[in-house]
Symmetry: C4
Subunit: 217 residues, 4 copies
């Protein structure tokens, strides 16, 4: 009997975890590339209590004013990627093994992670338009759906170390995807309200305060 | 008897795997840098049912139209790199140890991985020309040849944990390289047909559906 | 009794360490992107003792003169990130486990790490202004505060392997943050003196010479 | 007795190896960013045997001609970084433990690794000038000196698992640094000859052929 490639390929959970950490690390750092400092002019050195000393700061202040609005999308997407990193990590921690299909499901997940800097940038450049929001939300939705597919595949093929975590992992995804859909619906009226709702949701997800129902998901 | 450097150098499979994951992570994320959002203009905030609200989306729509065609090369190369990541991972999983020569074979493999964003970009910018396709195909061919050299070297020097996987790993490379060569030949007539054939092959490789002969490789 | 997601999420110290190494690696390498070589013109090949041979070096020399001043911020920030990498590593090495809250504290830490290339660049472009210095110092201060929050949380929830390291870790942060604040105060008079003091502090931190009180922190 | 921070900081060999792999991975991939494809124009689709089909390739050919000369510095630096990655890996594999000083020596090593894409780019843009070559060589020299300092420190503080590898590691560095210095001296006459000698040396280092004295180092 000969071994076939599909039976032996992609079976390392450690390698999958390492690739995931690498891709999340690069994607998280790329979010910052949007915060770019324009080339400055070096002026003379004067103490801060002189007029020349204060005037040197005027150009620097303009940089902060210009870069400032890009901080919000940076924070929002850093939190989003953090949430999904923890979500995927929690799944992988509870898998006993992987196979080629499950590995490909997670490669699809990582491709969506790679798209997050693009979606973030799109919202950052067109904050009052609807299409970037829908793009961003689709990115979130697909991330959730792929994680759901991973759960379903792993459950069907007996890949969980213990079965008692499956329900919690599944409810978590459904609950937050419902919240995301609600936050997105608000963008039809006002995109800034929608962005605020999304940041609030992510804060709740990150802080996990003892407020029902957020303390359970 | 003194120890010589070549005997003690490059013997860590773990470090080789970690470097590979890092390089694949960066290369996969760099593919997305091609999807760039042009600087936008922030307009006022209006609900979507007003004329002003809809007009704000026109500029955003143009961005999607412009960026859209770059999604196909992104998906194609993400899948290609995923396939080769799994291919290399499967080899390393079955090696009992490595030495300096095998490490250098894999460094050559990683250099070719680093070139994939360039090849992808080349095809993306000149989708109807033949030279970018030949470049892309040479990249694929060399990746396959280096993996083959790795197999041959490891087999000759007894580095496999078990010998029964060698045949499957070798047949897999030959089969898909033959398919790639066929897909590339189509580009002489029509480059889009060739790109479509390549994406189809990669889908078959990723999904491993129960269709002979694709279920065996 | 059902398991809830917050109880099972984000519990891998290994994954947290791996993500941290990835983010530090990318952030450290991004610091260098500031050292950019302008596109050059290829001239003929002449030995160094001829006039043409020497003139070929004039353009190259100008590149060094232009890029030179950016080396100091590169070195300063590389050392800063190195110091905080060791600081976080030392904490993680002494934790017995993590949970979702501690993981989020460290994600906040990593977000601040991602901002360091921006702060560095800001100081590099406006070296005589005060605002970039305050930004840089705020970045350092927040990194210290978040590491302090991590210590406090881990201590309260019994996550340390041994309790005897807590004091040393805490004193170290307080001591160096006090030094940083002092170095920053100098920038009100002269920003270059302030930068020099900061580099000196970081050298003391890196070299840990037997000079009291620096040998104890 | 209280524990002091310098005694407990920076003691993880695993974290040092992981950070090193991350930095090498990013630095190796950044080398390719120099191979940039200019934005192209999409023309119609025609078979290769028609005149229009062939004319579509003219623009693509010009890209290859333009990008071509950058392949040599890419290959040269990829090999250089590969050599030093193996060199550092071999050291770390033979260390039983690390401390804060040894960790800082390796952080200095990694800072020099981060500078390699800059040095490479400098040579690539001014291939006939001497200053970029001296810069590149200084980078190589410092990398060697820091690895030597690491060996010396580890030997003095009993950090080697076994003592019998120290001599081989040291001789290797001295031998190749002498070769590098020789290759660099050639650049005073002709920079291309010098580049060729460097690539040849790196091939000998990578392939380790049975040619004395290269088979011993």
């Amino acid at each position: 009997m000969t071994t076939s490639y599909p039976r032996i390929a992609g079976q390392s959970l450690e390698r999958l975890a390492a690739l995931s950490d690498g891709i999340f690390a690069v994607a998280l750092t790329l979010l910052v590339l949007d915060l770019r400092v324009p080339v400055g002019e070096v002026t003379g050195q004067h103490p801060v209590w002189t007029a020349q000393g204060r005037s040197a700061d005027r150009a620097a202040w303009e940089v902060l004013v210009e870069v400032g609005p890009h901080f919000l999308p940076f924070v929002m997407s850093f939190m989003t990627l953090g949430i999904f990193w923890i979500g995927q990590q929690t799944q992988l921690n509870h898998f006993a093994r992987t196979d080629r299909h499950l590995t490909w499901i997670h490669l699809a997940f990582l491709a969506l992670v790679c798209l997050m800097p693009f979606s973030t940038n799109f919202v950052g450049e067109y904050p009052t338009a609807r299409i970037p929001f829908v793009t961003y939300w689709l990115n979130l939705l697909l991330l959730g759906l792929v994680l759901m597919a991973s759960l379903r595949y792993a459950a069907r093929h007996g890949m969980f170390k213990t079965d008692d975590v499956l329900g919690a992992l599944r409810r978590r995804i459904v609950f937050y995807q419902a919240c995301y859909a609600g936050a997105m619906a608000l963008s039809l009226v006002d995109t800034y309200v929608s962005m605020g709702a999304l940041v609030l949701l992510q804060l709740l997800s990150a802080l996990a305060p003892p407020i029902p129902p957020f303390d359970r998901y």
